[in-house]
Amino acid sequence: MALLPSRTKYRKVHTGRIYGKAQTCNALAFGDFGIQSLTRGRMTSQQIEAARVAMTRSLKRKGKVWIRVFPHKPVTKKPAETRMGKGKGSVEKWVAVIRPGTMLFEIAGCSATAAREALRLADTKLPFHCRFVTRED
């Protein structure tokens, strides 16, 4: 199931800009291994789900996975071949805003080798450059 908020105050929001580095959620909080974004961008709920599935399948249900990001932001799109105007388009997807340094996923309860491979597979689903981090770092 793709992630999306159960209830929001406003249906549509402005595009916004992604400034600065991650000031919070930039360190390991739950697990022993994780991946941290090195660039900025948006992560859709489909990408989060694809990464989660890749990790759980790689770990063969041995470890524990934490998803540290949530897609709070609605992104709208106008239908194809539509004239401009007539208001903002309808919500097409939900995205998480990612700044450099954001911890995306964390893993515990498995070996470093298994965690590295699972997070590498998750990284292939994401539109960011990420790095593998451990608690020893």
């Binding site: 580095k21 041995k62 340094g101």
Partner: protein
């Protein structure tokens, strides 16, 4: 009790520009507070890197010596780091007084993970829930870290703060029922769950699910 030494310089100027120039010149802006007073100081980045390596994630008393030769016992309360570069941006030192109790937090280390009964025999997963706990003690009784033995932990069991062995002169401040570490049972996937996950993975990767491909092939064959 481990005790380390670090040289500091008193800093008169404050602000973003001053802090940036200090970092560029190989120094780290820091604050020293406690005992009802606070002051801005500077630490050499190389000295702090060596201290951090010696601390190795543990908690210890650091004796700070300024340019006048005055000393102060302190704890490294917090370290602000750049999220990408990992370089230290700012350090908070909390001054403590010899013979007086103070509050701090120490890391929780697990011992005997490889011999854990739940993991070895039942395939459980150790869930380390609390990595740091709050304590109250005197400088002389400050432990480097708190060790928790998990070798006898079975699946479904948990170790709480109340289960910790008493340390001399150390009071654990957290909620007694707070879980430090537990052994979770292994998750077993049913065939239906696995199928649903495979389909979700295919959809997420913008691929056509295997079941649909098969159905399309069949319909093509029917048309022929």
């Amino acid at each position: 009790m481990q005790q380390f030494k670090l040289n500091i310089e008193t800093r008169e100027n404050t602000g973003r520009g001053v802090a940036r120039r200090l970092r560029a010149s190989g120094k780290i802006p820091a604050s020293l507070y406690g005992q009802g007073k606070a002051r801005s100081i500077t630490v050499t980045a190389v000295d702090f890197r060596d201290l951090n390596r010696d601390l190795a994630g543990g908690t210890a008393i650091v004796e700070l010596t300024d340019e006048k030769g005055e000393t102060a016992l302190s704890l490294v309360q917090s370290v602000q780091r750049d999220a990408i570069k990992g370089s230290v941006d700012h350090i908070d030192f909390q001054e403590v007084e010899r013979g007086h109790s103070f509050n701090t937090h120490v890391s929780v280390h697990l011992v005997g993970e490889a011999d854990c009964i739940g993991v070895k025999h039942d395939g459980g997963v150790i869930d380390h829930k609390t990595h740091q706990i709050d304590i109250r003690c005197r400088p002389s009784n400050l432990p480097e870290h708190v060790e928790v033995d998990v070798s006898n932990l079975a699946v479904g069991d948990a170790i709480h703060i109340r289960d910790l062995a008493a340390l001399e002169g150390v009071e654990f401040l957290g909620e007694p029922a707070q879980v430090l570490v537990s052994c979770q049972p292994p998750t077993v996937a049913t065939a239906a769950e696995e199928e649903a996950e495979a389909e979700a993975a295919a959809v997420a990767a913008d691929e056509v699910p295997a079941s649909k491909v098969k159905a399309d092939d069949e319909s093509d064959a029917d048309e022929k």
